[in-house]
């Protein structure tokens, strides 16, 4: 923490880390079943155990990892797998750009690049709907730490204790991350009219790309990127004067 420019005491910084860990609890609830499923599927696809564990350690992105084991199992070539992984996660480019101005200024590039490793759909949405005006890197550290740890432990559980969770509970837990998104969106919509408009616009655009045949060839990740960009642009066009309402 030697790069910290502020005058907070060490103890003050720890409260931000703890706050981040607490904010990550709903993410952890959602990551458990998905990480376990990942471990199970990887085992079913005959991926070597150490490769599966390595994926959760160095990639830390659910969609990439699921598609990755799928493509590896299908015998796809490495170039194909890398391009697909890249496209799937292009949306993180937007999320990172959106977080950038909200992070407390003055932290080193080293700190920022460390924090950015933990950006996922879930940590991003929790961080960006956090009410503090500036996001402390210590808060993000706590948030990412619990999310990352849970993801990896869940992967191991999936690999080693495959039969542990009853099937009925596991299928029910598939909805966990989606309803967490609902829980994050609802308060924003209550305080801020544009948020509801923008979220509904994104749902509409995504549905069009999802169901209409003309976009069938688009990768799932690219559809999310396009829907997000279009809805945010519409928001910026229709709500030009709302920047002070956050």
């Amino acid at each position: 923490m030697s790069n910290d420019p502020s005058n907070d005491s060490q103890q003050g910084l720890w409260t931000f880390v703890v706050e981040g860990i607490r904010a990550a609890i709903p993410i952890a609830v959602g990551y458990l079943p998905i990480g376990i499923t990942f471990g199970l599927l990887a085992r079913a696809a005959d991926i070597p155990t150490y490769i599966t564990m390595l994926m959760s350690l160095v990639i830390f992105a659910g969609a990439s990892q699921f598609v990755g084991i799928n493509l590896i199992a299908l015998g796809s070539n490495c170039g194909e797998i890398l391009v697909t992984t890249f496209v799937i996660n292009l949306r993180h480019l937007l999320m990172s750009a959106s977080l950038a101005p909200r992070i407390e200024p003055g932290y080193s590039k080293g700190w920022l690049s460390l924090m950015s490793f933990g950006i996922t759909d879930e940590t991003f949405t929790v961080a960006s709907t956090h009410t503090a005006q500036h996001l402390k890197p210590e808060f993000l550290l706590g948030l990412n730490l619990l999310a990352f740890t849970t993801w990896n432990i869940a992967t191991w559980i999936g690999l080693f204790l495959a039969a542990g969770i009853p099937a009925a509970v596991k299928t029910s837990m598939g909805i966990a991350l989606y309803v967490m998104f609902i829980g994050l969106l609802a308060p924003a919509c209550r305080h801020f009219r544009a948020a509801l408009f923008i979220a509904l616009a994104a749902m509409l655009v995504h549905s069009v790309l999802y169901y209409l045949p003309f976009a069938a060839a688009m990768a799932a990740g690219l559809k999310i990127v396009c829907s997000t960009v279009i809805a945010a642009l519409l928001g910026a066009m229709f709500f030009p004067g709302e920047e002070d309402e956050f």
């Binding site: 949405t125 009925a168 967490m180 994104a202 999802y210």
Partner: protein
């Protein structure tokens, strides 16, 4: 060994889009239109992530709608987000149990 290199490659192409904007846009001043655009990204991303993906998250559209509605209701009456998540899971579980 081939797989180890592949996994590190996947890690790299996943990491770069996360890292580049946050490191290089941190101190840049954008116009108000683009500032708003970036600030609206979370709501847009949440919308796109929720729908229609939620419908197919449980293998059964009806149970997913049930779980989604339970969570929406809990979110509207402002309960803690962990309870919103647990309520949604319970909604799906009970639907599958009863129907």
């Amino acid at each position: 060994m081939k797989y180890v290199l592949l996994v590190f490659g996947m890690g790299l192409v996943t990491y770069l889009p996360r890292m580049l904007p946050i490191v290089f846009l941190n101190n840049i001043n954008l116009g108000s239109f683009w500032q708003n655009f970036l600030r609206f990204i979370p709501y847009a991303a949440l919308g796109a992530l929720i729908f229609p993906g939620i419908l197919y998250s449980t293998g059964n559209v009806d149970s997913a709608v049930c779980g989604g509605l339970v969570s929406l209701l809990l979110a509207i009456v402002r309960v803690n987000i962990t309870l919103v998540v647990l309520g949604g899971i319970a909604g799906v579980y009970l639907w599958n149990l009863i129907m």
